[in-house]
């Protein structure tokens, strides 16, 4: 290395020699940023693919939440689940428990009902 190089060593070399932990932390932060960026791209692709399809119903949802999300009158959902009109808010999981049947059965019955109730998504 010539005199010029000795006078002005590369910034990265100086930082590596004197401030290794900070430089390493910066590299770690950038690696994590890349990781999140890659995940973001994958999730955007998944989201794009799901556009126009109906999402699954989940056991934490309530009849009214489903009515809102699937644009179906709440009374129709309640009727399909054999619930009284004045029923308080409860999750599908709780409804299945109080009706003494597995939540999977309730979910699949309700899914069939939702598909039969509405026109296929455009």
């Amino acid at each position: 290395m010539g005199r010029e190089g000795m006078k002005h060593p590369a910034p990265l070399r100086v930082l590596w020699a004197h401030h290794k932990p900070t430089l390493l932390l910066l590299v770690v932060a950038l690696v994590f940023a890349l990781f999140f960026a890659a995940r973001f791209v994958l999730h955007v692709a998944y989201w794009h693919q799901m556009q126009g399809t109906r999402p699954q119903i989940e056991e934490w949802m309530t009849p009214r939440y489903i009515a809102k999300a699937w644009h179906i009158p709440p009374d129709d959902i309640r009727a399909a689940l054999h619930l009284p009109d004045d029923s308080r808010r409860q999750t599908l999981e709780d409804i299945a428990k109080s009706q003494g049947r597995p939540v999977e059965a309730l979910l699949s019955d309700l899914t069939v009902f939702l598909h039969s109730h509405m026109a296929p998504p455009s």
Partner: protein
């Protein structure tokens, strides 16, 4: 069917309502790993569906978050004597520490505001740091309330508008938050390195 942690938390929301939401936002402000943004979005959905009231959901989330910020701030404040002793010990690192806590007192408000919503995963640590650096309580609280209001209204609003897409939208939001936080940390470290490099050159040159 196996239930994820997120799903089991969401199932508790219709059962326990607004107080449960307040507990979740409080815990998340103390750095406990709870998916508070997901729970807030679901709460927005339940409010839109008519299962919970908007007023109850928004005020509970805000109350929990602001209370969590205060707890974190006072926990940090209780450790401020240790920090003060470290600053007074003399030497290069003590000097840097003193400068950092001075900067926090002067301009901590912006950091507190932005780490409530845009960079929310950093929020709890900023609470501890603000307390330890003896940032003024009024300035901290004003920035905390303003930032948490943005956070709460933003996520409850998204949840209310996107009931059908909660499960596909939430991963996008959490990844975007991860990108922002890691880039913010990288930016701060790059600034620090630039400063160190400059100091190194001055030392060599002068």
């Amino acid at each position: 069917m196996t239930q994820s942690l997120g799903d089991s938390l969401l199932a508790l929301l219709p059962d326990y309502g607004a107080p449960f939401l307040a507990a979740i936002t409080l815990l998340s402000c103390l750095a406990l790993p709870v998916p508070s943004s997901l729970v807030m979005m679901a709460a927005g959905g339940f409010a839109a569906a008519g299962d919970l009231s908007y007023t109850a959901v928004i005020s509970a989330a805000l109350l929990g978050a602001v209370a969590g910020d205060q707890l974190g701030f006072w926990l940090g404040r209780s450790g401020s004597d240790i920090l003060k002793r470290m600053e007074n010990r003399g030497g290069k690192q003590a000097h840097a520490l003193a400068r950092a806590s001075h900067l926090t007192r002067q301009r901590g408000g912006v950091a507190v505001f932005l780490t409530r919503w845009l960079l929310s995963p950093l929020g709890p640590y900023v609470n501890f740091a603000a307390g330890a650096a003896r940032m003024g309580w009024r300035g901290f609280s004003a920035a905390s309330v303003a930032g948490e209001s943005v956070w709460v209204v933003l996520y409850i609003g998204i949840g209310a508008g996107a009931t059908q897409q909660l499960e596909t939208l939430w991963p996008l939001i959490s990844d975007a938050s991860g990108i922002l936080v890691t880039l913010a940390v990288a930016g701060l470290l790059a600034l620090r390195l630039r400063h160190l490099l400059h100091a190194h050159k001055m030392e060599k040159g002068g």
